[in-house]
């Protein structure tokens, strides 16, 4: 899901950035598409690499270790980041 979104964002960003520079330049458009393709390919390559590395890592770590890291500590991390970021909204709420 994140990968698809990233691809769309990368493509749109490159397209509209270069449209702003020169709407009539075919060369710029070609560069933009080539750049988007490059980014999408590198993103796909990165996903495959991380998947392969995680797959190997899983074979070496047992269920208990993996469970602690990917459930309890991930929950801790996401809650920590959530609360911290929403303190900012709370501050806005306070000052308005």
């Amino acid at each position: 899901m994140v990968f698809f979104n990233q691809c769309i964002v990368i493509y749109s960003w490159l397209k509209y950035r270069d449209m702003g520079k020169s709407a009539t330049s075919g060369r710029v458009s070609a560069d933009a598409i080539s750049g988007a393709q490059h980014l999408i390919m590198s993103n796909a390559f990165q996903k495959i690499c991380t998947f392969a590395l995680n797959q190997v890592m899983l074979r070496y770590s047992g269920p208990a270790v993996f469970g602690l890291a990917s459930i309890e500590l991930e929950l801790l991390l996401s809650t920590l980041l959530f609360l911290s970021r929403y303190t900012e909204i709370g501050y806005i709420y306070f000052i308005l």
């Binding site: 899983l58 074979r59 208990a64 980041l81 970021r85 909204i89 806005i92 308005l96």
Partner: protein, 541 residues
Amino acid sequence: MTFDSCREGIRLAVLQSRGDDQSQLRRIASLSVIPTFAVSGISLVVLYWYAIHRPGVDIAVVIMYCLGALLEILAEPFYNLYYCRLIMLPRLRSEMAAVTCRSVATFLAVVVADYGIRGFGVAQVVYGGVYLFVMLSHVSMLTADGAPVRLSSVLACVTPSSFMHLLKCNEGGCDDLLILAAHATASSLLKHILTEGDKIVLSISASHFNQGIYAITSNYGSLVARILFHPIEESCRVAFSRMCSAGGHAFNEKIASFSVLNRRSRSSAGGSAGQAVAAGGVRTRSKSKLTTFDKENTDDVALVEATIASMAELLTAVLRGIVLFALLFPVIGSSYCRVGVKLALGSEWYMDETVATLSTFCFYILAISINGISESFVHAVISPKSLNTFNMSLVASWVIFMGSSVPLMARFGTSGLVMANALGMTLRGCFNLYFAQSFIYHACSCDTRSLNVEALTDFNIFHSAFPPIQVCLGCIVLFIVCLFSGSRFAASNMLAADIAVHIGVGIVCGCLYLSLVWIYCRSNVTELIYSVRSRGKGHID
């Protein structure tokens, strides 16, 4: 995603409200530093709690996770600055680089250095560090009043006086923003709890071993949902939204007046005929209705008719198509989990608990697929009136999930949690289907004479989405064959030849299933393939 949108929406509204580039920069930088203080404070509380209540967890790992969070939050001012200036590349690069480095660091720390759980902590610190570094390295892309922004000038904004400046900037207040901030915070908190519900239950009531089994199952199971179902859901979302837009003013009025719990909204629009539909009966049109037909609105009515007919047609076709596809997992896939775990995960994970949980997840996939498609329809037609009801249904399904998870886990182990998830998801799916059906009845309850719409008044979405009886019988036979093959060839100590035979049986069963589907439901399959292909064009006609 919603959480981010709410957060960014509030920020943009507040930060871009007034002022030149420099004052905007100061506001963003000052405001974004608040989470840094917050994460430090909350981390201390967390560390204290872990030290007292969780003596089994290595405190060094918790410290590393808190440090990782702190590093990630330190990038917050830059994240906001890029966001406000619509510069996306640093964010994309930082996320990509951080995820890659975390994977490499986990691999090195866990596999090569054999740090165990501390390896994951090290990887989290690496993630935060790389994320911050890449964010900082792109600061030259920012400009203020035409000149590039320097890192020192951003850091210089973070002073006590800048907080006072921020306070002064927003003196006078704005009620709308205040309400929006409160709503966004409340809904995001709810979303966070709903999203992390399974992790909360596991952290409270399950051992680390069970958590690991669930995590691996969930990772593999959600791959199917992300890779196969998500593109179809997205294309449906776009298609339904476009159809709504094309439906014109009359159709939007239908959407606005619809409330899933308020039967009067149907009856007032459709009179006695609407009431009959609401009661579940076949709609009977009175002649008096036809005589009061307003000819001036013929175009609008025809457009509403066409829109609702095409929406209902697409929904049922894609829903049945995806159900047929998702049925492959419980019917055939569930008997191949043992082989899959043995080949893909190795001896560390090869145990009955993992196999049973993965098999249960195969059934859960069916509920995920139905919920995804039906929700894409609901999101397209939902009105502010029905939004609260929809949110309440989410909360209700979460309560049922939480309530059932503990007894089911006690009875079935980790599979119990997947069962509880499936129960909650099925309820959500049922609500969505009920919503869709009610909306179609409501939209039909206008003064029309079209044969299409008359047919829709007999429409039963639960019946339409269900595969034909021949396919259901075929599924039962194939399920029994695969189950028998699994018990015969894929016992606990399976040989390579047994695995080959078992996989061969699976391939034959898969081909037979696809043949059945092709014979009895060809139109649904072609519709599904068409919807996936149309995604590239961004629409479905």
